[in-house]
Structures are given as structure tokens and as C-alpha cells.
Subunit: 385 residues, 2 copies
């Protein structure tokens, strides 16, 4: 496949956007991406979204958003793999451009989650898990992750406080990101005293939901060859792997096998290994997920994810900075948009436009977007010269 | 893009499958397609589905179905544009193979609609329309189509009975298809006396919902070059276009502009015009939609769709046979699966395997899958030597 370049990015701050409909959030992110790319038209639109049918009573977002952004008539569709929907929008846009059916495509991730009751939102989120084996019993997402975290602590001998730095680092980084939902650093004491949600997961282990939208524009890299700066961000690796939807049915519930497979394929495509990744946008829906992702992708030994955090290696100054703009924990987790925020933030870092959150000298960034509790995992590796 | 071949097809009969979960229906169609292609593994799975999140409380079908069919780990995702989701699964599989990221892909369309109350199903279906302008006022899909049909009759001077042959032809063809939901021919009298649903649409103008799944397997055409018979079905044209979601906002509510655009692109790709199409699987969710599709795709003059039917040209012996295996009206309309049934049926015709429903000497078939009341339209042209 021909190489693909990302030439425009846009986002809205994650938050409670009471005054904006879903289509307006998507539109705002897209208009920003178009302005950034200095374009007014593209040939196709791929929308990452999980819950609009359930929460907004609106399916069929492709045609709706195309029309709203003034591009009535273009090819458009929605793609979905629960919380992994955002990165799939990029994946699909890449396939469309890569196959030659279009030469420019928009990918937008969008979700509106705060206009409905917490019960409705929690129920809609639970459709990402197995209806037959998990959600039918009333298990929520935080409940499933609590089971995983509890078992992990038991198997590898970690204490709850050993996960604190995942949360502290995310909030410290989010404080430097004007688009983050939470922009206040937290202390170890705040982490320790946070209200328990599903033991051992407390409020500071869990990412907040939110309304949000983020978008990118992709074209064949050849089209922008020789251009410096903004346009010079290429997709060096892109891969999707799956696993059992139900956690109990996995070979090892403490090992993200889809993350391992997906990362390996992306490394192979990029011709590099984990040691060459300058920063890593992990899917820290819960602190335990950060640990498991770091292990499955080769940054830590099995069971040793928290060690990286305790050694200070996940901060902007560390060996493998993660959640550099706040991650799901502080930037927020508007489900179907999250994967696209990871991409937009990585491009921002690679362009050197991350302001106070900028990590020096980064050339290669990796993002990993997770659907469900590890059943669909999408890895992208982005590069600049 | 390299040429793509369809080398396997599978389906389950459309009906009320009380004894099978959604994942089982999808699996049964996929297993049939694998057996047909003499394969046991593919590299990716694209699922067309609209309502599982709402009706089955199960999103994230890609990973779920991959696991169920014994392919845990492969790339998978759901694609959606309301009732157009089925054809989009093929479109996405084609992009995946066409871009070279995989060399074999499964596309399945699946929907389970009869385990829920009619109110729940009707509400879920209404999410295909504009939530802000249409469904919020209580307009259902049949209601929207009734408004279109009424206006059409007024503008062009047609009577209700002038649409009868669309329904009669579909039921006559469905009677020869063992996978059709309704396998009984109807008479003009049955059509005339059918119960009114939303004036002027009566029960015989409207397609029935149902549970169903259909699947195809695609590979690069080069891979099966020289093979005769079953494997020798190629995608000669594939195109998606969109329009305003809300009917009132279209330039002309009686003209399917997305069908015109989508068909034109597909004709151009195939290097042919409507006169070279041997049969046409239209999206006859309602009889009025058959008329509008035939006009937009160049088979009839504007406002003259019913004339084709009255002249006997849409039957298996006519100039442009439509709904050759029963169409949505008689085969049934399991929403997210419908577009894939159209593809599977077209392949069946092109292979000469349609049994009593076979149309003689067909070499080029066209399918058109419609999302909403015309907001997303996907056209495919399939060819054999």
C-alpha cells in the first residue's frame, strides 16, 4: 500500500457540551482540521462512533455529518468497535486512500455522552462487553476492570498505591493541555483518598466520560512529498487485532493478546521495535490498562508495568512517556472519539506544537486504542523526519 | 485499485429466528460462505449491522463474530449507514483487499429484529432518519415514504394500483427463492385489498423486517485468475454517495440524487451504461423506492418508473429484471443484512445457480442498497465472463 500522510488535525475540548449537538461537535473538529490542512473539500468521510444510536437516537452519522459540513454527496459511513471506534475511522480512511478509491479522506471520532442519565450511559457502554456472558449479569466496565486489576495485584504482588503514578502523570500532562477535560494536577494523597468505585478501582484509577470530537485528514504521502513541517506526518504502522469479547474466555485475562499482536504488526510495518518509540499514547481507561498495554507492547516485562511508572519512565522525561496530553484519565474518554484524540495529540507532538506539554525531539509516536476490555485493539505508529 | 473477486457466498433464510442469537445467524452465513469458497480462514472481517446496540444490547460485533467463527485475533469491525450497512461491509472488505493490507476478507451483513417489541424495533429503525427534523416528530420510515409516494402520485399522475406490479413481481420471484421470507405469489387483488399502513402505502407496498445474515468472501481477482465458474465473479463497479438525511431538505424529494451519483460512478468504473445491466437488485423497501431507483439509475425517465413495471419490463423476461430473488418485499428486509443479500443473490444469478429463479444468460448485475430514505446509497456492479 502507498504511504499515507496526515495533513490536517482538529479537535474540540473534551467536556460537557450542553449547548452543542453531536453533529456540531463533529463539525467543529472537522472545520478545524480542514483549516489546518488548508482544504475546503475531501472525497470521503469515515466516522468513529459507538453510541449515537443508543444515546442520541441517531444512527446514520456519515450522511448526517457530510451534509452538516457542506459536503453533501460524498462517500460516508460509520465504523465501530466500541471504545476502539475512533482509531478505526483513521484505519478506514487509510484503506480508502490506500486502495486508490479516493485521494483525500476525513476521519472523525465523535461521542456525546453527557445529555443522558448515568444509567443510560452506563448501559450503553456495557454493550461493548459480552451481552451473553458479562453485561447480562450486571457487570459494568469498571467492574470488569476491577476483576482484572484485583487478579493482577494478587498474581504479581502489587499494591493499589503502585498504580498511583499512572494517574498522577496523566493529570500532570493534562494540566498542560487546553483541550483536556481535567486540567488540574493531582497528588499521591488525592489518588489514595479518592472514592472507591469498584474495589480496587477508585475514582483516580478511572477515566471520565465526556462529549468530544477529533478529526484528521489523510492523503497519499506522495501528494505532499517534500513539504516540511505540518504536512510531514506519515502513518508508518497501522494494525487491528481482536480477542474474546468476554474476559473469562481469554487464554490469560492478564495479558492483552490483541495488543501484543497489533503492536507487533505495526512494529514490523514501521521496521522498528519498542525501543525506537519516542512516546506512547496508551488507552488508560483504567490504570490497570496502562500497565497491561506497556507489557503487551514490549515496554515492560510481564507483570512489571507498574515498575516503569515507579521508576519515573512514563513521564515526559522518562524512557517511554505515555498519555502525554493527559490520556483518557485527564483529557477524558468520549468513547468513540478517544482513539482519534490519541492520533491528533500524537500529530501535535510530532509537529512540535504541543506547547507546555511538548516532549523534546520526538520523531516516532505510537497510539493504541482499545475496544471493550481488550477485545479490539488498534495500534498506529506515526513518524516525522 | 486491483480488481476484486467474490469467491464465496453464504446466507440464512430470512425469517423469525427465535432459536438463534445474532452471532449464530452471522456464523451460519459465514460458515456457508467459507465452505462455498473452500476456505477455513480469512484475514479480516467487516460486519454490516445497524441496530444490535439498540435491540440486542450488543455493540462490538467484529470481535464477537470473529471469535465465534473460530478466527479470534483477526482484524474486525462494524460498518454502518442505517439500511445501507450491508453493502458497506462489502465496500470496506474491497478497500481492505484493494489497499493490500489483507489478501482475503469476509463481509457479513446481519440483523436480528424480531426478538423485540414492534415499538422498540420501529424506534430503532427511526434512528436512520434525522432525529432533529424527522423522528423527533414521530415520523416513522413508512410515514416518510408515504409522504414521498403521495407527492409522486400527485406530480406525475399515477394511481396507487400503478405500483402493484412492483409488489407482484417481487412476490412471484420470492416464491422461487428458498431463502425468502415470503414464498407465496400475490395477485392484483391481494395488492389492492391489503391493509393500509400509511396512506398511500399499504401492506403490499412495504417490505417486511426479519432476522437474517448473508456473507461473501473477497480476494484479489489475480489470485483466482483463469478459474472458471464459481470463483469468476468480479466487482466491476462500487460506489457510495450521500444526500441530506431529512427528506424535506433535499433539492427534490422525488429524485434520489445519491442513487444517480452512485450509479454514475459505478457505470464509469465498469465502463458501461444502464443498457448493459442484465438485472438490477433494487432496494424496494417500499414500491415507491423501486420507481425512484429505476429513474435515478437511468432505466426510466423522471416520473416514469411505474411505466416500466406496467410494460412488463421488470419481470425475469423483461428488459431490466429487478428483485430477481424476491427483493426486500418478499425475501425480506433484515436491515443491516439486506445489502449483503442483494450481493449474494446477484452472485447466485451470475453463477447460474438461482434454480427456478434463474434469469437466462446474465453476465452483468447491479445492486443498490439504500440507507434511510435515500441519504446513503451504495451501488455495486458485478460481472462474470
Amino acid at each position: 500500500m502507498q504511504e499515507i500522510a496526515i495533513i490536517g488535525i482538529g479537535q474540540v475540548p473534551v467536556g460537557e457540551h450542553w449547548g452543542k449537538r453531536l453533529v456540531e461537535l463533529a463539525g467543529d473538529a472537522i472545520f478545524a482540521a480542514l483549516e489546518d490542512a488548508e482544504l475546503t473539500q475531501v472525497e470521503a468521510l469515515y466516522v468513529g462512533n459507538m453510541m449515537a444510536g443508543q444515546l442520541d437516537k441517531q444512527s446514520h452519522l456519515g450522511a448526517l455529518i457530510s451534509d452538516w459540513i457542506g459536503m453533501r454527496g460524498i462517500e460516508a459511513m460509520t465504523v465501530e468497535a466500541a471504545c476502539g471506534s475512533g482509531a478505526l475511522a483513521l484505519r478506514t480512511a487509510m484503506m480508502a486512500v490506500g486502495s486508490g478509491i479516493v485521494t483525500s479522506a476525513l476521519a472523525v471520532g465523535v461521542e456525546k455522552m453527557t445529555d443522558t442519565s448515568p444509567l443510560e450511559t452506563t448501559s450503553a457502554l456495557a454493550t461493548a462487553a459480552s451481552a451473553d456472558w458479562e453485561s447480562i449479569h450486571g457487570v459494568t466496565f469498571v467492574g470488569l476492570n476491577a476483576l482484572i486489576m484485583r487478579r493482577y495485584m494478587y498474581e504479581y504482588g502489587w499494591k493499589h498505591e503502585d498504580f498511583a503514578l499512572f494517574s498522577i502523570n496523566a493529570h500532570a500532562n493534562g494540566a498542560k493541555n487546553p483541550n483536556a477535560r481535567f486540567q488540574t494536577p493531582i497528588t499521591a494523597d488525592v489518588y489514595k483518598k479518592a472514592v472507591m468505585i469498584a474495589d480496587p478501582i477508585n475514582l483516580m484509577d478511572a477515566s471520565p466520560i465526556g462529549d468530544g470530537a477529533a478529526a484528521v485528514i489523510v492523503v497519499p504521502a506522495d501528494l505532499v512529498k517534500g513539504r516540511k513541517g505540518k504536512s510531514n506526518i506519515r502513518i508508518a504502522g497501522s494494525s487491528v487485532s481482536t480477542d474474546s469479547l468476554a474476559v473469562h474466555d481469554r487464554q490469560d485475562p492478564l495479558w492483552l493478546s490483541a495488543a501484543e499482536k497489533s503492536a507487533k504488526k505495526a512494529y514490523d510495518q514501521a521496521g522498528i521495535g519498542p525501543e525506537e518509540i519516542d512516546f506512547f499514547e496508551v488507552h488508560d481507561a483504567f490504570t490497570i490498562m496502562s500497565a497491561l498495554s506497556l507489557e503487551a507492547c514490549g515496554f515492560a516485562e510481564r507483570g512489571q508495568g507498574p515498575r516503569l511508572a515507579l521508576d519515573g519512565e512514563i513521564t515526559p522525561e522518562g524512557k517511554i512517556p505515555i498519555t502525554t496530553m493527559g490520556g483518557l484519565k485527564a483529557r477524558g474518554h468520549p468513547v468513540g472519539a478517544t482513539g482519534m484524540y490519541q492520533i491528533v495529540e500524537s500529530v501535535t507532538q510530532l509537529r512540535g506544537e504541543a506547547g507546555p506539554a511538548q516532549i523534546d525531539g520526538v520523531k516516532v509516536g505510537m497510539t493504541q486504542n482499545i475496544g471493550g476490555s481488550g477485545a479490539t485493539i488498534i495500534t498506529h505508529i506515526l513518524k516525522t523526519d
